[in-house]
C-alpha cells in the first residue's frame, strides 16, 4: 500500500538546465533525483559516489539530472551515516595571558596554510579556541562528532594533559616541541638548532652579553633556551641568569616586560628573542631607552613572520617554514587517521641575517 509519497520538493522544470540560482538553499534531495531518473535512491547514491555497480549510461543520466537540479549531497546525512564529518578541527589553546584571541601572526599564518592544505584534501577546517581545560574541551569536540581529527596549535603549558588525552585519542597532531615523554605526535621546528645558530651568529659578531627573552615554561621556548645556552657553552661562556627575561608572547606584555628590564639593566649588547613579535617589541623598547639597533644592541628573533623582513631595521631571525609545517601536520594527521604509525617530525630552520644584527663596525 505504499503510495508514491515522494514528491519533488522543488517544483522545478526537470528538462531544463538553467542556472537555477533560485534553488539555492532549497531542499532537492536524493529521492527527488531518484524519481526524476526513474531509479531508486540506492542507485543514485551509488552513481554519484562513482560506484562501478552502476551502469555507465545510467550513471551519466543521473549525473546530468543531478547537475540540472544543482543537487549536492547533504553532508549532514552523509556524515551521520558514515560516522565521519569531513572536518578537521584546528584548536588554539589560549594562554592565560592573552585571553583575547589569537594574536601572534605566526599562528595566523599557520592557520592560513592549514586551511589551504585541508581544503586541498576536500576537508573543512573548524576553528576553535579553547580557554584552558584542554582535555575536557577536546573530549567534547570529539564526542559531539564534529570532527575527524584535531590539530592542536601549541602545547601551551598543558603538556601533561595533552599526553594523557593522547592515550585514548589518536587522530591528533600537535604543533610544538618534542618532549622527552611525548605520547603524542608533534610537528615543530628544530628549536634547539635554530636558536644555537642564532646565538653563534651573535657571538661571531663579537657580542658577549646576550639577553634571552622568552617564557621558558613553554616547551618551544624552553628548547630555544637550550640552544641558547648550548651556543654560549661552546664559546666557553656561562649563562648569566640576570640576562634571562621571561617575557610573554603578546606585543604589549613583551614591551612592558622589556622596558622594565631596561630600566634597571642596560649592560647588554645583544638580544635573542623567542619570537619575532617579542623581538620587535624589544627593538621598540631599546629605542625608547636610547639604544639603537643594531648599532648599540643587535637583535635576533624567531619565526620569520612576514613583517620581519619588512621591518625597519629588517629583523634577523630564525626562519620556521610555516607552509612546510602546515603541510606536514596535515599529512601526518591523515596518515594517522588511516591507521599508519607515524613519528614526530622536526623541521629544519634557517638563520636569516638581516640589518638588526649587522656585524659591529
Amino acid at each position: 500500500m505504499r503510495t508514491k509519497t515522494t514528491k519533488l520538493s522543488v517544483p522545478s522544470k526537470p528538462g531544463l538546465d538553467l542556472p537555477m540560482l533560485g534553488d539555492i538553499g532549497s531542499q532537492v534531495k536524493m529521492a527527488d533525483i531518484a524519481m526524476l531518473a526513474g531509479v531508486s535512491e540506492s542507485t543514485v547514491s551509488r552513481a554519484l559516489a562513482g560506484s562501478k555497480l552502476v551502469n555507465a549510461v545510467t550513471r551519466k543520466r543521473i549525473e546530468d539530472i543531478a547537475a540540472s537540479q544543482s543537487y549536492s549531497i547533504d553532508q549532514r546525512a552523509r556524515n551521520l551515516r558514515l560516522s565521519r564529518t569531513g572536518t578537521i578541527s584546528v584548536v588554539f589553546p589560549l594562554s592565560h595571558e592573552s585571553e583575547q584571541g589569537i594574536a601572534d601572526p605566526f599562528f595566523l599564518e599557520m592557520l592560513g596554510n592549514l586551511a589551504d592544505e585541508l581544503s586541498n584534501r576536500g576537508y573543512d577546517l573548524l576553528l576553535r579556541k579553547i580557554r584552558s581545560d584542554v582535555p575536557r574541551m577536546l573530549a567534547d569536540l570529539l564526542r559531539e562528532g564534529r570532527t575527524d581529527g584535531v590539530l592542536l596549535i601549541g602545547q601551551s603549558t598543558q603538556h601533561g594533559l595533552i599526553n594523557e588525552l593522547a592515550q585514548s585519542y589518536r587522530p591528533l597532531v600537535v604543533w610544538g616541541a618534542r618532549q622527552p615523554d611525548n605520547g603524542y605526535i608533534t610537528v615543530g621546528s628544530d628549536n634547539i638548532g635554530g636558536a644555537a645558530a642564532a646565538v653563534r651568529h651573535l657571538l661571531a659578531c663579537g657580542h658577549r652579553r646576550i639577553a634571552f627573552l622568552g617564557n621558558r615554561q613553554l616547551p618551544e621556548v624552553a628548547a630555544r633556551y637550550q640552544g641558547y645556552s648550548q651556543a654560549l657553552n661552546e664559546a666557553g661562556l656561562a649563562v648569566a641568569p640576570d640576562l634571562l627575561l621571561p617575557v610573554p608572547f603578546d606585543r604589549q606584555g613583551a614591551f612592558a616586560a622589556i622596558s622594565g628590564f631596561l630600566d634597571r639593566d642596560r649592560a647588554i649588547d645583544a638580544v635573542f628573542a623567542s619570537s619575532d613579535i617579542v623581538a620587535i617589541a624589544a627593538i621598540r623598547a631599546l629605542d625608547q631607552h636610547g639604544l639603537k639597533v643594531p648599532h648599540d644592541v643587535a637583535v635576533v628573533g624567531f619565526d620569520d613572520i612576514m613583517v620581519a623582513a619588512a621591518y625597519t631595521p629588517a629583523l634577523s631571525t630564525v626562519r620556521q617554514d610555516i607552509a612546510l609545517g602546515a603541510s606536514t601536520m596535515v599529512d601526518l594527521l591523515f596518515r594517522r587517521i588511516e591507521g599508519e604509525v607515524v613519528a614526530s617530525v622536526e623541521l629544519p630552520t634557517t638563520l636569516m641575517i638581516r640589518a638588526s644584527s649587522e656585524r659591529l663596525g
Copy 2:
C-alpha cells in the same frame, strides 16, 4: 517481538563517575543513557534539552548519568534532525593575484575576532577559501547543509555575482563597501571619510603631490579613492592621473609595482596607500630609491594592523576597528537569521597620526 537489542556500547560501570578519559571518542549514545536511567530516549532527549515536560527529579537523574558517562549529544544526528548545523562559514574569496592564501594581516585579525564572537554564541566557525566562482561555491556550501550562515570577507571584484546570490540566500553578511545597488548587507568602514581625513592631513602638512596606491577595481579601494579625490577637490586641487598607481594588495606585488613607479617618477611628496601592507611596501620601495620617510615623502596607510604602530617609522594610518567590525557582522548575521530586517552598517574610522607623516620641518 522486539527484543532489547540495545546494549551499552561501552561497558562502563554506571554508578561511578570517574574521569573516564578512556571513553573519549567512544560511542555512548542516547539509547545507552536511556537504558541506564530506565527511561526512553525521548525522555532523555527532553531532559537534556531542558524541556519542562520532564519531571525535575527524572531530569536530574538523567543529567547525572549522562555526566557520569561523559556523554554529549551527537551533533551530526541532532543537526540532521533539526536541519541546522551550529556552524557559520567564513569565506574568503581569493583574489586572482594572491592565489596562495589569506595573506593580509587585516583579514587574519578579522578572522581571529570572528572566531571569538562566534564561539561566544556557541557556534563553530568553518573556514573556507574560494577560488573565483563565488556563487557556485557558496551555493554548494549551502546545499551541503554545512552551514547556517555565511560571512563573506571582502567583495573581491564579484559585486554583481554576490548581489545575484543574495537574492535567494538570506543569511549572508559581507565585509566591504556599501555599493549603490547593494542587494546584500555589508559591514565596512567609512572608507570615504577615512581616506578624506588622511589626505586632508597630508595636505595640511604641506604636501601637494600625493600618490594614491591601490587597485580601484575593489569596491573598498574605490571608496578610498573617492575620499582621496574629495579631499583634493576641497583644497582646490585636481587629481593627477599620473599619481594613481593600481597596486595589488599583497606584499611582493605591491613592492614591485611601487618600485617600478618610482623608477620613472619620483616627483611626489606624499603617499596615501589603500592598506598598511601597501604602505609598508611603499616605505621599503621609497627607501631603496633613496627617499626617506617622512623626511622626503610622507606615508599614510589604511587599516592600522598591529604592525603599523610597531613599524619604524611608526606608520600613520586610518584605523579600522576590526573587533567592532567582527562583532557587528556576527550580530547582523544572527539577527538576519532570526528574520529581522537589518541594514548595512558603516563604521567610523580614526586617523592615527604617527611618525611616517610627521609635519614637514
